[in-house]
Amino acid sequence: MKKKISNNMITYGMILLFYVIMQVMISTGSISSLLQGLLVPLCMYAIAAVSLNLVVGFSGELSLGQAGFMCVGAYASAFFTKLTEETLPEGPRFLIAILIGAVVAAIFGFLIGIPVLRLRGDYLAIVTLAFGEIIKNLVSVFHVGVDKSGIHFSVKDAASLNLDEEGRVLIDGPLGITGTPKNANFTIGIILLFLTVFIVLNLVNSRSGRAITAIRDNRIAAESIGLNVTKYKLMAFVISTALAGVAGVLYSHNLSTLNVKFFNYNTSILILVFVVLGGIGNVKGSIIAAILLTALPELLRELQDYRMLIYAILLIGMMLFNWAPSAIAFRERVKDKFKSNKKEAA
């Protein structure tokens, strides 16, 4: 128990330390503008990775639709921000936008989770992937505009919205949402990351969290002692999608143009890479992997072309090393050798 608490403290401390170091570097000007521009995306990727780790690591299901839920959060919040740009002050507006992003993504997660979580393993992976693609597909045909008479809606094009002269197009189909104010900054990103980690760690160490991991380890045994499998799986999934929505909010309020191209299958995979390389079920690892793997290739420009290839090799190597029975046996042998050497030395 104590070990768990100190481990959690290390995670929080690490985020704080990262923040302080970055802030010091910003104030002394010893940070390149390139890296400075990466700070919010770093937080976004870290939040997304932690949220995916909740599903992959603790619930034991592979979800490949994380980018789709980020997309929902990004669009819902950016839509709200654009809609109330002139009526609400910046601070509360962004706060509400974050909540809206999380809630709408959670609603989608809930609706999608109910049918999908009946499936397992490969099927669940492919269906979440399919949902991610469906979300992306549908979002890119929406055109929404607003004028005095209210909100207009069309699936054809911006012209068929029939807006009056003062009307504004909010969502322009494949072009997405443009001109979202840049409300996100590094401090807010870190606060959100902190909250995400807090939520996930508290959930994992709670009664519900233990139920979730019990279901992961043996579904039938968990079911037979009376755990409600669907409820706990859904709980982990919905919380994960809500947090992914928050990551989406950071994305949409950091760039002035938002379109669905970013939220494709490859982004989902990239987040999965962070989770696997950081250690499945290891929250701290997810954050470190997300930060390092996002920042390093941007800093080492020469590696840019080979970045994804290296990730792929690392991903395969990591899985083989960690999960292959022969590799596990090999590790055991090496460990035994070390132990016996130590004994001899003593």
Partner: protein, 294 residues
């Protein structure tokens, strides 16, 4: 008339999905894993044909044969290096994530070797078009070749699985690995053979796909791969006729959806089919129901 022409286009696209789906369904049946990299083997196959024909000036038929050989070896190598060590892993996610890693690897390798820009695929199928009903309905040579190839593959594979020794060994391994081993079947070789056949078919699918939609990028295989998996699930995973019928139905649904509803949401319709099938009848049209025992 336009409906019939859409229908034929749909069957043609569906035939390509069916050939890809055969690879998925056989591998899933025997190794109980979703080979995510299958779609990318298609892409590699198409690149091999393209480079053989445009750079080396090889005869198209020989180019396809070389591409089949390359993909067969690639499929076997992938199985040997990435999947076999994980066959008895404690977590079912391990091999799935590895398969995603392999897919990611092939895409990015192709990106570095061939570049990100779309290559236009030459029209290598020289069959004449058929025009029916006073030229109102034109069936292109590519369409005819695709459908004929698909039928030949289906017949050949059905014969192979049911009548030959290796084919029956495949069926035995997919039913019960342990019992098959006791019967003296070389399980490793059989699984390897399954990957080899599936990947060889992927090369043909890659060639046909790029002949029908002549634009080739490192990401060309990913989407058709996922859709073909949908087709395999639709028809019932592990079933060869199921993969065929699932593939053709899916192709028809996609083309009709594109034509009559919206070209932008056609993919969404295809995936909606997958979700509905999995929720209503998770074993697919021809699948067997397997009860989970404690």
């Amino acid at each position: 008339m336009s409906f019939i022409s859409y229908l034929i286009n749909g069957i043609s696209l569906g035939s390509i999905y069916a050939i890809i789906a055969l690879g998925y369904t056989m591998v899933y049946g025997i190794a109980k894993m979703l080979n995510f990299a299958h779609g990318d083997v298609i892409m590699i196959g198409a690149f091999v044909v393209l480079n053989m024909v445009t750079l080396a000036g090889v005869n198209p038929i020989i180019a396809v044969l070389i591409s089949m050989a390359v993909c067969t070896l690639l499929g076997m190598a992938i199985e040997k290096i990435a999947y076999k060590p994980l066959r008895n892993a404690s977590s079912p996610l391990a091999v799935l994530i590895t398969a995603i890693g392999v897919s990611y690897f092939l895409q990015n390798l192709a990106l570095i070797i061939f570049g990100a820009d779309a290559k236009s695929f030459p029209n290598l199928i020289t069959l004449p078009s058929i025009s029916l009903a006073d030229g109102k309905l034109v069936i292109t040579g590519t369409t005819i070749a695709t459908i004929i190839t698909c039928v030949i593959i289906l017949l050949g594979l059905t014969f192979f699985v049911n009548k030959t020794k290796q084919g029956r060994a495949m069926k035995a391994v997919s039913e019960d690995k342990g019992a098959a081993m006791l019967m003296g079947i070389n399980v490793n070789a059989t699984i390897s053979l399954t990957f080899a056949i599936g990947s060889g078919l992927a090369a043909i699918a890659g060639f046909l796909l790029c002949s029908a939609y002549p634009s080739l990028t490192p990401y060309t295989g990913a989407m058709p791969g996922i859709k073909a998996f949908t087709a395999a699930v639709f028809g019932g995973i592990g079933s060869i006729p199921g993969a065929m019928i699932g593939g053709i139905l899916l192709g028809v649904i996609e083309i009709l959806g594109k034509a009559y509803i919206s070209s932008q949401v056609a993919d969404a319709i295809v995936f909606a089919v997958l979700i509905i099938v999995l929720l209503v009848k998770p074993t697919g049209l021809f699948g067997k129901n397997i009860q989970e025992k404690v």
